[in-house]
Amino acid sequence: MNIKNLLWIWMCLLPIQTMAQEMALVRGGEFLPLYGAVKNEMVQVKDFYMDAKPVTHADFLEFVQKNPQWKKSMVKKIFADERYLTAWDGDQQVPSELHNSPVNNISWFAAKAYCECQGKRLPTVDEWEYAAMADEKIKDARKDSLYNVKIIRTYEKPKTHLLKVGQGEKNYWGIFDLHGLVWEWTQDFNSVIIAGESRNNGNGEKGLFCASGAVGANDLMNYAAFMRYAIRASLKANHTVTTKGFRCVKDANSNYLVQK
């Protein structure tokens, strides 16, 4: 390892306090996600802190100012495609009406880097889904048809990525906007395997995956969740789309001080 690499590490480890945003504690538990449960066994989720709001354009601007390799003009295509931060007029010109809207047209690599520079990480698919199955009153509202309908309505609404964060109601955990504005990147989005989705070279889907039968949908009625998993399965890590942003999480045992 050379000195240059070490230098970069230390530059990132400098505290970036202004970027720290309010986090909410999500108490762990077990649940059955739509996809990814092996043989329909419950998935365990540990306690974690989650950003109470999605990362905004203003937050991300601060990040690229400190980490210029993530500027539009500097970023390598292998980490973010040509639509990266497409709403920005240049490397640092964010339209003022977007400051408090969720940052979008962001790649998985960029989202991951943002979280790491704050000592956080992207949520796993299971963590995200666990936090997002709560409505305002209960931890798991998935059986409530109104909860599902409400989410699907927002999927039908155009240009929700232009809305401001933190305007709606907090969910049970004190988290805003898990539904309604943008879909969000997850750390292990590439673990979502939906057979027959991808490049296939004309072969049947049998040969594509090892043990593919073991991981499947358990509740096709949950159409909103199905949409999210399908989006995850269809994206590559350098893809940037209008309807996808992100937020960060942190393990609950890492002594993170929740800001009131």
Binding site: M1, W70, E116, F209, K236
Partner: protein, 197 residues
């Protein structure tokens, strides 16, 4: 290698990708002509089956054929390995150029260099053109994401994963992917030969 010695490399990987502050000097010093789509932009370090620590970038200059496997795999992986051997044999009969074949473990916790070496021996893949690589959970995920390889751990020893063989040119740019098992290999073989010219 002790944990204490590995830790700096792991930390380096964690923070390097996202947080490197580049000055004009350092970016000029870096590979200025490296294609934007090159995997060598991904800073990562791996242990080979001989226990040697290498950076991905050390492989620059040689065409690569890669596949992601894990040694405990009983179903698809033996067939993937057979495909790789078939491809290697066919390519060798048509070109003398140096080509590296990477077998990247998606199970870095269990697939230690020793296990990888044993796997290499069991499969008669001891020639130095075969590189078996152990990364970290994170470096493996990054690499898989560049290749759009999907995988999920479904038990302590089993993974569900896509069966994709990828071909990179000398600058680490992905040129071809073959998905699925036991299919016609002519196209990928011709691609490797044309890249290695």
């Amino acid at each position: 290698m002790s944990l204490a010695r590995q830790l700096p490399y792991f930390l380096a990987f964690l923070f390097l990708l996202g947080c490197q502050e580049q000055t004009l000097d350092s970016s000029a010093y870096l590979d200025e002509e490296l294609d934007e789509m090159s995997i060598y932009h991904l800073p990562s370090e791996w242990h080979t089956q001989s226990g040697e620590l290498i950076a991905l970038e050390d492989l620059r200059g040689t065409p690569l054929v890669s596949v992601m496997i894990y040694t405990a795999c009983k179903t698809a992986c033996p067939r993937l390995v057979a495909d790789m051997r078939h491809i290697e044999t066919a390519v060798k009969s048509k070109t003398k150029k140096d080509i590296k074949y990477l077998m990247i473990s998606i199970d870095p916790t269990n697939d230690t260099p020793d296990k990888l070496m044993q796997f290499a021996k069991d499969n008669q893949m001891t020639d130095d053109k075969w590189l078996f690589l152990q990364g970290t959970e994170e470096s493996v995920r990054d690499f898989a994401n560049i290749l759009a390889v999907k995988y999920k751990q479904i038990s302590p020893i089993d993974f569900s994963h896509s069966n994709i063989i990828s071909v990179f040119d000398r600058n680490g740019v992905l040129q071809f992917q073959k998905e699925g098992l036991g299919m016609e290999n002519d196209e990928i073989i011709n691609k490797i030969i044309s890249i290695s010219k």
